[in-house]
Amino acid sequence: MSAAAESLSPTTGETVTVIERRNRMGMWLIIVSCSTGTVALLVAYAYLWSLNVNSAWAPPAGTANWAPVWPFWVIFTGMFVATLLLWRGQQLIARGNSRALVRDSALASLILLLCFVGQVVQIATFPFGPQDGAYASSTLWLATANCIWLFMALFLTGAVMNRTRAGRITPESRGHARLVAMFLTYLCVAAFLGSVFTTVMQESPNTGSPVFGTFKE
């Protein structure tokens, strides 16, 4: 029961394991909350796809072509790799190898930076504008949300690198690296679902939607 054995939190004096358990729980709750938001976006996409209101799901004939799907998958892959790196890094630091975590998180940040740039480019080069129908809107927002997540992820992985170098993340207290890895994992799931939706749901199944403001005969 003597607290001296384990390293203590400088602010509250509790043992680090206690604090880390608490932080992990907080992170889980945050992930739950964030995933509701992701679900909201996916529901919007699928619902509008299934309804095809006023036959205006697809971009209008003039601009009508779907966004190429490969960028979504490339970006997802990048995020996936970055996440794996971070997990490995915090496994290695558990074995006392701090430099490994610095290296891995640096690498992860680099990849995420590329993903971020790629995401921006993708949004800028969509073959349609935001006003071109429901598909355009939903896809745009799936991408934009991912863009914002990537920005946050960049901050987090950068912080992990920085803190490990500054010796704030040590083999004894490495909870923060793990928290970041958890959050990145969630982002991967979100990005994956987004990519799946944009890939499999393009032509709307509903072709007989009523024309706005008129009655069927």
Partner: protein, 290 residues
């Protein structure tokens, strides 16, 4: 309490046991002897009666503007009675208990003193919990079943016997296209040469079938005395219907906030005889009901 049941039951041949043994229903009768029990039961009865009486007042208010004007409205009012009758005893008991306690039936410590004696340490009471929970569950179950049946009934009379395919109940039904827009209702009679009108004129005792849509924002097509309401959604067509069973003029209101003149988005339902309807259609330049 359960110990009561563990009493050794005497053999048949042994002499009768002295009278100080509690009667078979000892628990209940002794419970009823408690000073507060009868009071609360009496209160319950009174309050329940009052609540049931109130239902008639409520329905009277609903009929103030000339309803019920359709089969559906009759169903709705019947349902209100049923719901109230079912819930009233429960409400009556609850209100009885709080009234009794608030009135100091169990005594009361003035605000400026501090309570001296402790109350009875009743942690729980198996009987009460079981009874209460099962009663409430059965009430809820009954409400659900009644509601589902009623819903099926009114759906049948608004959409036709098969709710899912939302077709008019029979060929006789008059098709009416209802268009809501800021801040007007307009009614088109496709079966009668596309006559269009700002008031809804219909023949009595003929089933009506409405296709409702909106040209801009959400509206809600509410035929008050007919108890029919359905949103007018832009970009979608919703359906409802009813059979007017009363001659006269009734209210149509918009029940969904739709902007500046929402409060003024009202018109009339005029229920007339078949002949009057036909002549009205004719003077609107439409064909006779086909």
């Amino acid at each position: 309490m359960s110990t009561l049941d563990e009493r050794p039951t005497p053999e048949a041949d042994e002499p009768e046991i002295p009278t100080n043994r509690p009667a078979p229903l000892g628990i209940v009768s002794r419970w009823l002897k408690r000073p507060y029990a009868r009071r609360i039961l009496q209160l319950t009865v009174v309050i329940t009666a009052v609540i049931i009486g109130l239902t008639f007042v409520m329905v009277a208010f609903m009929n103030m503007s000339g309803g019920p004007a359709s089969d559906i409205m009759n169903e709705i009012e019947k349902t209100m009675f049923v719901l109230t009758f079912v819930c009233a005893p429960l409400m009556g008991f609850t209100l009885a208990v709080i009234t009794y306690s608030w009135w100091g039936g169990w005594g009361m410590v003035p605000a400026d003193e501090t309570p001296t004696e402790e109350g009875p340490a009743i942690r729980t009471n198996g009987v009460a919990v079981v009874v209460w929970v099962s009663v409430c569950s059965m009430l809820a179950a009954f409400l659900v079943i009644w509601g589902l049946v009623e819903l099926a009934t009114i759906t049948a009379s608004s959409y036709g016997s098969v709710p899912s395919n939302q077709q008019p109940r029979d060929a006789k039904a008059i098709d009416i296209n209802v268009t809501g827009q800021q801040w007007l209702w307009s009614f088109e009679y496709p079966g009668n040469g596309r006559v269009t009108s700002d008031v809804l004129v219909v023949p009595v005792n003929v089933p009506l079938y409405f296709n409702v849509t909106s040209l801009d924002v959400l509206h809600s097509f509410w035929v008050v005395e007919a108890g029919v309401k359905i949103d007018a959604n832009p970009g979608a067509i919703t359906n409802t219907g009813f059979t007017p069973n009363k001659l006269g003029t009734f209210n149509i209101r918009c029940a969904e906030l739709c902007g500046l003149h929402h409060a003024y988005m009202e018109t009339k339902l005029v229920v007339v005889t078949q002949q009057d309807f036909d002549s009205w259609i004719r003077e609107q330049g439409g064909a006779k009901t086909s």
